[in-house]
Amino acid sequence: MSESVSDAELVERFPWVQITHDSKHHFRGWLDKRLLINRCADCGSFHHPPKPLCPECWSESLVPTEVAGSGRVHLAMHLHQGPPAPGVDYARGPHPVVSVDLDGTNGVRFSSTVVDLPVEEVVIGLPVELDWIERYGHPFPVFRKREG
């Protein structure tokens, strides 16, 4: 589906981030609700944010690879103020932001928020899974608490 979205449209849909030829696959993945993390076809290592080549072996054979998006919270903070975004109301309470150690990616972290959980429960070590919400009419990756 996102294959049909032109580069110009892609940039139009995510005006708040600088998209490049190196990161366009990652953001096209968002449109399909797929979290794509660059994996090196030669040495197998993952990296993020997307870079022009593999930082480990310098191979240019990178494969944007869909990951499950489960993991544990490595960093957690609660924003009492910050940039505006739909659905984020700092007056109603702090907004959690986390960096998650993604399972099966040799230590790559992905940063977003945690939804549907009281902010005081958003702490380091929390097991989470990936979900998608809508921001400005387009899919946006978030985490929610993983049960069990």
Partner: protein
């Protein structure tokens, strides 16, 4: 380059929450002229210009035009923080690109960190520089250097089981010292109770864990130690200086609190310096965020990981309300970025030189001859320097 380059001129404006109708270019020019006069040289002798890439500050070429300098053979505008510019100036002189460098920094409160600046029509253009020309503000979840320090502060609390008071003690140290510095922006006494009640910005860090935006400027004149000896009897020289970072320096991808830029700096500095932490008379850990100061205390070896709070407590001088290491060595006697003002470390560098010259007045460390600066944070701007009086 050990001891080969000297700082022979210092110039500085006051650091104010609002400098009124003065442009950053004028502040930079005032500090630069003061530094050139202080060095006792003619402006024609300046043949190198290094100015930090601060929002609103004039670039080296603009500064050269403002001051009407003669021909210049080295100029650059390195990114903040302070030691990048210092190292660039040093290497330019040492390699013969030029003989005498004017190094300057100007700081401007910006619309995104100051309410009054947001209402200043002459600062409106700065707003566009923050977003890098993007059409919409970043998402709250986007990790930038500023928010990342908070995230790693949370990790520090988690890993080492310390209370917020550990961070508060950093803020208290800076404020008590600022009271002895006429240039400082924040001199109102601070208590731990007030720290704990201060406005939370990004939990676990509050307003008092973050440096104070100010208008102001610092400038330095550097030349060879050989030439410096003709200008002054006891020049202050750069004994060692370095930058440092790890490959994985994207803010949220950093290996850990126990492996980042500060560790690289410490290893490099230790190799290049003949003196180390037991030999110094004044200590300058960067404090753009309080967590950075805890990092320097531990990574330089004053305290074990997670023990900086305990170490500050053990070295606390109750009468002065601040750290005095072994009852002798103060930590940021000028008040640091948290209380003198957000100078990206130039305040630390200027105070180090001032102390080594014996010109620090009420806050002078008796007979100070060696200073250690741990500048910058964890990601891409960690740096360090050892300064000595010859």
């Amino acid at each position: 380059m050990r001891d080969e380059i000297a700082i022979v001129g210092l110039g500085s404006t006051e650091f104010r929450r609002d400098a009124g109708g003065i442009s950053p270019a004028k502040l930079a020019a005032q500090a630069s002229i003061a530094a050139i006069h202080d060095a006792g040289i003619a402006k024609g002798e300046i043949d190198g210009v290094v100015g930090a890439l601060e929002p609103g500050a004039p670039r080296a070429n603009q500064m050269s035009a403002i001051l009407g300098l003669a021909d210049v053979t080295h100029h650059s505008s390195p990114m903040p923080v302070a030691i990048f510019g210092l190292v660039d100036a040093m290497t330019a002189i040492f390699s013969g690109q030029c003989d005498t460098v004017l190094l300057y920094y100007a700081f401007t409160r910006a619309p995104w960190n100051s309410r009054s600046a947001a209402q200043d029509p002459f600062r409106g253009y700065l707003a566009g520089m923050m977003g890098g020309g993007l059409k919409a503000p970043p998402m709250p979840e986007w990790i930038d250097p500023a928010s990342a320090y908070t995230a790693w502060a949370a990790r520090y609390i988690h890993d080492y089981r310390v209370p917020r008071e550990t961070f508060g003690r950093v803020a208290l140290n800076m404020r008590a010292n600022a009271a002895r510095n006429p240039k400082a922006a924040m001199k109102t006494p601070l208590t731990m109770e007030a720290y704990l009640q201060a406005r939370m910005i990004r939990h676990p860090l509050c307003m008092l864990d973050m440096d104070v935006p100010v208008d102001g400027a610092d400038a330095f004149v550097l030349t060879t130690t050989e030439k410096a000896k003709k200008l002054t009897k006891s020049p202050v020289v750069v004994h060692a200086a370095t930058a440092g970072m790890v490959g994985k320096n994207d803010e949220d991808q950093l290996p850990s609190l126990e492996r980042h830029g500060q560790h690289v700096v410490v290893e490099a500095l230790k190799q290049r310096s003949e003196v180390w932490i037991d030999d110094i008379d004044v200590f300058f850990p960067y404090d753009g965020f309080s967590i950075i100061t805890l990092g320097w205390i531990e990574n330089l070896g004053f305290a074990k990981p997670g023990q900086a709070g305990r170490w500050m407590q053990d070295n606390w001088d109750d009468a002065r309300g601040c750290v005095m290491i072994d009852g002798r060595v103060p930590m940021n006697p000028h008040g640091g970025s948290l209380s003198e003002g957000a100078s990206r470390g130039t305040g630390h560098l200027r105070e180090a030189v001032t102390q080594l010259r014996g010109e620090a007045g009420d806050r002078q460390v008796p007979d100070a001859s060696t200073a250690l600066i741990g500048c910058g944070g964890f990601f891409f701007n960690s740096q360090g320097a050892v300064l000595k009086r010859l």
